[in-house]
Amino acid sequence: MTMKQSKCADCALECSVNQTLKVAGKVVCIACAEKILSDKNLKTKPIVEHQTDPTICVKCGKDNGLIDFHAVAELPVCPQCESFIRNRPFPLWIKVAMTVVGGLVVFSFAWNVRFIKGYVQLKASHKFLNTGDIEKAATSLNAAATCIPERKDLRAVACFYEGAVLMRQEKWDQAIARLNSCGGSLPSQLRPTVEESIINAKIGIAFDTKDYNAFLDLAMQVQNKHPDDSTFAGQIASAYACLYAQSGDEQFKKRALESLEKAGTASRTTNSPEYFESYQQRILHRLYTREVIDHKEFARRFPNGWRQPKEQP
């Protein structure tokens, strides 16, 4: 086999093409090229190009004698190397690494799917809370807390809303038990609401058991927690009205009317005057008839509201 030969333009040395360089358009041997490039008097650096012997494979160095190899990307390569260059496989370690990363991602998805489920439930609970659907919000929060047991605050908030649902259903004992189980993981901003809800549940029990003195004490406790908000005076009016209905003591009736007046004035500044109107009717009915009925019975008997009959002259 004979490699293609080239003659150095400077020293006339015969050498293989691969052993030559084109410096500023002149083909020279490597020694002469180094001499030219090391000349300190050069004003500009000349363009240097590698000379490639088309009969030698650039990749494996295989010599094809006097026959040129097929050029790939302008470089001569033997058929074996050409096949490799055109179908270069990914190295095994890349394939293994990518498989490991893919496996990690799949494993992580499977491992963390409970967090995604929990997040979906949490977002759903926010939507339900915004629409006032506490029952569904409590269910979603409970599901979220079950998905992520590490987050004790989620369980505590779920407990809080389950307690609120039981309050709404007037299951006072169960509500107190649920609210008491919220524990120390409850966010601090919800703690006063829990305490107040427990008092309200106790008010419910006192009302149901006709323990109106306890009802009054508890209503006072709630009012004392909000000294600047007279809307809570409505509960005090209700308690006095119950005591009046039970005892007939005019002092209770007077205090009930005073508290009702106070609550009425406060309700005008809030966005619940309609609620107060129906509440007021119930208290006045209690004072007028001395009969204590709960709001469900009141709504059943007087679906269009109750008006105090005019006194006959």
Binding site: V72, I85, N87, S108, I116, K123, A124, I148, E150
Partner: protein, 176 residues
């Protein structure tokens, strides 16, 4: 200032994926691959030497391949770790490993200056024959140059965070 080679070492999976993406698109488009370095301690940290490409679509895909592959992988690697870490503040090592991996991959999504230069030369030639993709590529190449310059201000890291953590937030908030 943290030298570039240290960042490359710290985020080496991104370099490997970047070069793999170049190689993948070369293979898909039948471009001969003369040499590949997936990672090395030097500048550049990796490279793919491929044969000359005559059609612009191929040039475009080979140059922009890492942007597509690295961004997609960044998103999918970070996604399973995102909810437990970001939303619920969990601190399990697997999630942190995936976040590092995902953000490292995302950080190397930008095509390099060399990729942009190659694309610019090819786009100029192709635009002469009114190749629409080539014409549309000019602003993209300029964007790549700017993005590369802004890596000095950690734009690559910001991009990785945006794809790995920002995009899942956006998607989860809109889905649920």
């Amino acid at each position: 200032m943290i030298p570039g080679f240290i960042i490359s070492i710290m985020t080496f999976p991104g370099v490997i994926v970047h070069e793999s993406a170049h190689m993948l698109f070369c293979k898909i488009r039948g471009v001969p691959i003369l040499d590949v370095c997936f990672f090395r301690f030097g500048n550049p940290a990796g490279y793919v030497v491929h044969g000359r490409v005559d059609d612009f679509v191929t040039s475009f895909l080979v140059a922009v391949g890492p942007f597509i592959i690295n961004s997609a992988l960044c998103f999918f690697v970070c996604l399973p770790a995102f909810v437990p870490v970001r939303i619920f503040g969990m601190t399990d090592p697997l999630s942190y490993l995936l976040l590092w991996l995902g953000i490292s991959i995302g950080m190397h999504a930008f095509p390099s200056m060399q990729d942009a230069s190659n694309l610019w030369v090819q786009a100029k030639q192709a635009a002469r024959s009114f190749n629409l993709l080539a014409i549309l590529s000019f602003p993209l190449v300029i964007a790549i140059y700017i993005a590369n310059m802004l890596t000095f201000f950690w734009l690559d890291y910001i991009y990785g965070i945006a794809i790995g953590l920002g995009l899942p937030t956006l998607i989860l908030d809109h889905l649920f």
